[in-house]
């Protein structure tokens, strides 16, 4: 099984996937660095660096762009086998088709993790510097780390939907359309700061971001929609995953004709 995953990662060498990761990574780093600009606290004294604010900005940027990018990555990994006509060969191996699906989804998870880690690099670098100067609240660092791990996990929840669209469409276009649609919703949803937005599965990763920002400005109290949102996301994940497993394993393969 690990060797199948390995081959999936090999296939990504020299592809545009790395650009997609960069698109996800750069804005998040930039906006979190904005927090370093000199600021004046309400009391009139210069404010110190606020790590929590940095994490909040990073998380926000990542959860606006991320869903579309992760969908595109999934689409590329699944659909390229049809578009580059390698699917005949792929399914001729003495390996169960479900193993290929699992390896591909694992590759997407690895890319999500990579994007998330890289997108928080500047926050953690600044955080580490503060730790070194003994100015930092270690608790905030831990909260930021937890937020990022939750973003990873929650972002993975909608991945099988992207996978399903790509294997049925045998093409990256359906997922590109999905990406545009989803980005509009995440951008509007996060701009509005409404708490029920997270019911939309692609916006559920925003929940831990908003959670972290409690106490900052307009956010207060735990999100009352957290449980239903998690249920919706879990159902989305399970149903689309079952569809993928059945479809991938059973479908006739015609690419190249």
């Amino acid at each position: 099984m690990f060797s199948v995953f390995n081959t999936e990662m090999m296939k990504l060498k020299n592809t545009k996937i790395l650009w997609l990761v960069l698109i996800g990574v750069l804005p998040a780093n930039l906006v979190s660095l904005i927090a370093l600009l000199p600021k004046i606290a309400p009391a009139g004294t210069p404010a110190g660096i606020n790590l929590q604010d940095m994490f909040y900005r990073q998380g926000q940027m990542l959860t606006i762009w991320g869903p579309a990018l992760f969908a595109l990555m999934t689409g590329y990994i699944i659909a390229r086998e049809y578009q580059e006509r390698t699917i005949n060969q792929l399914f001729s191996y003495p390996v169960a088709r479900v193993s290929f699906l699992a390896a591909k989804l694992a590759a997407v998870l690895a890319l999500i993790a990579l994007t998330t880690v890289l997108s928080s690099v500047s926050v953690f670098v600044v955080g580490a510097k503060l730790v070194f100067q003994q100015h930092a609240d270690l608790n905030v660092l831990w909260l930021g780390m937890r937020m990022n791990m939750m973003i990873c996990a929650l972002s993975f929840g909608t991945i099988p939907v992207a996978a399903a669209l790509s294997m049925v469409g045998k093409n990256i276009i359906p997922v590109a359309v999905l990406g545009v649609f989803v980005t509009v919703i995440t951008a509007i949803g996060e701009a509005g700061h409404g708490s029920q937005g997270i019911l939309f599965p692609w916006l559920t990763p925003y929940w831990p971001v908003r959670q972290l920002a409690q106490g900052i400005a307009q956010n207060s109290g735990p999100n009352p929609y957290a449980t239903p949102a998690l249920v919706v996301l879990a159902l989305t994940f399970i149903i689309s995953l079952i569809f993928c497993v059945v479809y991938y394993a059973r479908a006739d393969v015609h690419s190249g004709s």
């Binding site: 060797s3 199948v4 390995n6 081959t7 090999m10 296939k11 060498k13 020299n14 592809t15 580059e84 006509r85 390698t86 699917i87 005949n88 060969q89 399914f91 001729s92 191996y93 003495p94 390996v95 169960a96 059973r250 006739d252 393969v253 015609h254 690419s255 190249g256 004709s257």
Partner: protein, 306 residues
């Protein structure tokens, strides 16, 4: 000798239409089996079913003497294939593509990669990205990949597509060597008669989804009818003289200046003398056989192969 591949009543329907209908293939170990059919005859569909890429609507497949159900993975380890088109990851080099294949096939040592690249003459291009390969090079690389894991059976769908005449000749020689020296059985589909003719030990002719004939090449040669091909300056008068002087009736005007004589095959000297002494200029008399093409035309009811 055993069979390495057999199908029993193999059928694929799309909606109402049977694209492959009730096909019984039998390929013996060591055969080079030419699977011959026009465009759209159902060759690729059949091969896809053999590789488990599409599900048969009915019928069974037997690989190496066992049914496919349950032991698909084990059977596939012993098969190398190119179905329809040699697809590769274009962003990777030839060597990297083969490395993926090696891992998925569970092959231990890495030397097999250089080995097969040498076999198909691509060793020098091994670090080149496949994106920069020509179709002919991809085709060779496809053959290399099909060979990498030392298969016992090769299933090749039109493997000479995109090769130049020299390449076709080289690849043909390679297939012959593989069959003779390594005892690999080969199932090779084609819409080109002359290609199959030069290679196959056994031939299956598929037409509109049905297997019209399956025959050993030697038997086919015996079946083909022989004739004297006579090239003359005036075929009409020549025919008249042959009828009058020799009493022949079984002949055919095959074209301007060409007669096919289906009797007196051992009397070409007499035929020559008779014609010459009646003032007919004879340019050539040769004994010819019904070509595979003629035979094919006959059994498919006149459908032409390109």
């Amino acid at each position: 000798m055993g069979f390495c591949l057999r199908t029993h009543h193999l059928t694929k329907r799309y909606g109402e239409k049977a694209v492959v209908h009730d096909i019984n293939l039998s390929i013996r170990t060591g055969d080079i089996y030419g699977f011959l059919g026009q465009n759209g005859a159902g060759k690729t569909t059949t091969l896809r079913m053999l590789m488990g890429l599409i599900r048969p609507s009915a019928g069974e497949i037997e690989l190496f003497g066992a049914g496919l159900k349950g032991s698909r993975a084990m059977a596939l380890e012993r098969v190398g294939a190119i179905i329809e088109y040699p697809g590769f990851y274009l962003n990777l080099s030839a060597a990297e593509n083969l490395e993926i294949h090696r891992r998925l096939m569970g092959m231990g040592n890495k030397e097999c990669i250089d080995e097969v690249l040498t076999t198909v003459g691509l060793l020098d291009a091994k670090q080149q990205k496949v994106k920069n390969y020509s179709l002919g090079m991809k085709q060779r690389l496809g053959i290399a990949r099909a060979l990498l894991h030392h298969p016992e059976l090769l299933i090749l769908d039109e493997p000479t597509n995109g090769l130049d005449p020299v390449g076709i000749k080289e690849v043909r020689q390679l297939f012959l060597d593989l069959a003779r020296q390594r005892g690999i059985s080969i199932l090779i589909s084609s819409h080109l008669l002359n290609e199959i003719e030069l290679l196959a030990t056994r031939i299956g002719i598929i037409h509109k989804g049905k297997l019209l004939e399956e025959i050993d090449y030697e038997a086919l040669q015996r079946k083909a009818r022989q004739y004297l091909e006579i090239k003359v300056d005036d075929e009409q008068r020549a025919a008249y003289i042959l009828e009058q002087k020799l009493g022949v009736t079984d002949y055919l005007v095959a074209g301007p200046g060409i007669l096919h004589l289906y009797e007196r095959l051992d009397q070409s000297a007499k035929v020559n003398f008779t014609l010459a002494s009646n003032g007919i200029g004879v340019k050539e008399i040769v004994l010819s056989g019904d070509s595979l093409e003629d035979y094919f035309l006959k059994i498919t009811g006149g459908a032409r192969l390109v």
